[in-house]
């Protein structure tokens, strides 16, 4: 559905460089008639204002919240890396204890091919497990909300699944399931499953009671209520579950790889870490570790982006930060 042009803007335009260059000619023409008179007067009185956009006072580039949100953590990262490098070179620490960031970067380049191959294996297991967890988790949630009885009967087992450490179950699964990739996907999916089930079930149940009454008044069918009311109401909870679950899928994948061990079956990043440990190739271990962390961050960013895409315009959790 396209928004009508008369509808108020979803969020105020960012007063950025684009706005400034676009608004400069307007200032030269003594502003547009929509500008408040007082704003015109002050702007005409003071120095030639570079920007007279919809927002009266342009915020300096470096002080915009959006820029700050990226800049500040980046600054911390750079400082930590520089300190780290300085400490390693300063104290002349051997690379088999603590490799310097530069050495790590070099290892990433020299061992690029095997590391990327391992990354691909780990990412594949993570994504497959995540997809399985989402599909199964959503299906189970829909089953749960059909009746309280079903939920009462099955929920304890979902909890049982959640509280049993995957490291303890993984050997069994690896023995039972012949295909190594499949067995690791199952392990990781088991870890990632619970947040999807609990969040989606909660979401499907947390429907505005008045809206529910409204649907009842209009003789909505079970299906209409599900599709038009329950599912949209559940989306914020579901996406919350996705964020947690995507991280857990990665953890599950790495744990499964560790348990599957050095049998040479799946050569994922965890396998690289194990191998590097045996060979005391600590720079490579750090490089593999870095790749795992980056994968986790990428997953998180991806989920945050998806959440924004799906809820950005209407849900309070996404709109209040602006």
């Amino acid at each position: 559905m396209s928004a009508s042009p008369a509808a108020p803007a979803v969020r105020p335009p960012m007063p950025g460089l684009g706005t400034a260059s676009r608004a400069a000619p307007a200032a030269a023409q003594q502003a547009t008639p929509r500008e408040p008179a007082i704003a015109q007067a002050t702007k005409a009185g003071t120095a030639p204002a570079p920007a007279t956009g919809p927002s009266p006072r342009p915020v300096p580039w470096a002080r915009q919240p959006r820029v700050q949100r990226v800049m500040y953590p980046l600054l911390v990262g750079v400082v930590v890396l520089v300190l780290w490098q300085a400490l390693v070179t300063g104290f002349d620490l051997p690379p088999y204890l603590v490799p310097s960031p530069l050495l790590m970067a070099k290892t990433l380049v020299t061992d690029f091919a095997p590391l990327m191959l391992s990354l691909w294996v780990t990412v594949k297991i993570t994504v497959l497990a995540f997809v399985v967890a989402v599909v199964v988790g959503v299906a189970v949630s829909f089953l749960f909300v059909q009746s309280k009885g079903i939920e009462m009967a099955l929920f304890p087992y979902a909890v049982l699944l959640q509280v049993t450490p995957i490291v303890a179950v993984a050997p069994l699964i690896i023995i039972w399931v012949k295909d190594p990739v499949a067995s690791m996907v199952i392990c990781a999916a088991l870890v990632a499953l619970f947040p999807i089930i609990s969040n989606t079930t909660l979401g499907l149940r947390s429907v505005d009671p008045d809206l529910q009454a409204y649907f009842k008044l209009n003789h909505a069918t079970r299906w209409q209520t599900l599709v038009r009311l329950r599912v949209p109401s559940a989306l914020p909870y579901f996406f919350g579950g996705l964020r947690i679950s995507s991280g857990l899928a990665l953890i599950g994948a790495v744990v499964a790889e560790f348990v599957a061990g050095t049998g040479g079956t799946g050569a994922g990043l965890a396998y690289q870490i194990l191998q590097s440990g045996f060979q005391l190739n600590i720079p490579r271990m750090f490089a593999a570790l870095l790749l795992i962390s980056l994968t986790g961050v990428a997953l998180f960013v991806l989920m945050a982006w998806a959440t924004r895409r799906a809820l950005g315009s209407w849900h309070a959790s996404e709109t209040s930060s602006d």
Partner: protein, 272 residues
């Protein structure tokens, strides 16, 4: 518009000794008898806990009476469809779907009833025009003010072309100025569309301004204590609000409210 309801006239709503007692013995509403003629604007007025919302929800079919019967156009509430008449309910809160545009929100009852999209869109446009929100068809509820959200809720009620409009303290959460504006607009719509309205409020002024008839209720236990016909002509403007006639009605309701509240502290004798 005559407020009188002769016994032989057609009636839109018949409440026949309907009462509500919860299983734990709480008496939400003592038996109520009320007949509402088509085209009437009846207000249920009373303090919190007097059962006015309970009564309205029973008329809507959202609550079952524990005893007694409720008829709409001489059919039980559940069989309203057989009469060919339509009912709309406006809640205290706007009760909109936050993820859907104004247009989609107003179209909801038509979508649920399976009205073809083209026809539905036309009727939605008409309903939005009636409440003056055509420009905001594409907006999301959270982009609108409380008063505008309430108007969307009313448009959603009007879009089904109801014969009976039930409103549960619809403007209770709004400021006085916005509320009065919406009251005036509602009266306008009521006259234009020939609706039958049952309106719940705890504001005496709102009740007198709007209604052809005010049904005064009291709490603990919830019951009807008085009915008052407001015989002032429509359209009622701001002049009516400051007239001695208006003040007289308001005083009369105020007095009966005080009398009713006084009895609620009396011992068991109010229990039937």
């Amino acid at each position: 518009m005559s407020a009188a309801t002769p016994a032989h006239a057609e009636s839109a709503v018949d409440i026949l000794s309907a009462e509500k007692t919860y299983p734990d013995g709480t008496q939400a509403l003592l038996p109520v008898d009320l007949r509402i003629a088509p085209g009437e604007f009846v207000t249920l007025l009373g303090p919190s806990g007097c059962g006015k919302s309970t009564l309205l929800k029973m008329v809507a079919g959202l609550l079952e009476p524990s005893d007694g019967r409720l008829l709409l156009w001489r059919k039980p509430v559940a069989q309203l469809a057989e009469t060919g008449k339509k009912m709309a309910f406006v809640f205290q809160a706007p009760t909109l779907m936050p993820w859907a545009t104004v247009q989609a929100n107003v179209r909801l009852p038509l979508d649920l009833a399976g009205v073809p999209r083209a026809e539905a869109d036309g009727r939605v446009a008409d309903a939005l025009a009636l409440v003056g929100l055509s420009r905001f068809a594409g907006a999301l509820p959270r982009q609108l003010s409380g008063g505008m959200q309430m108007r969307v809720s009313i448009a959603r009620g009007l879009v089904v072309q109801p014969d009976l409009l039930l409103m549960d303290e619809p403007f209770g959460a709004l400021d006085e100025i916005t509320r009065h504006k919406l009251d005036a607009e509602l009266l306008d719509l009521w006259q234009k569309k020939g609706l039958t309205v049952i309106f719940v409020t705890h504001s005496i002024h709102e009740a007198v301004f709007l209604s052809t008839r005010v049904v005064m209720m009291a709490a603990r236990p919830g019951r009807v204590v008085e009915e008052l016909h407001i015989d002032a002509p429509y359209p009622r403007g701001d002049d009516f609000m400051v007239s001695t006639e208006f003040a007289g009605y308001a005083r009369q309701l105020q007095d009966s409210l005080l009398r009713a509240s006084a009895t609620q502290f009396a011992p068991e004798e109010v229990q039937p």
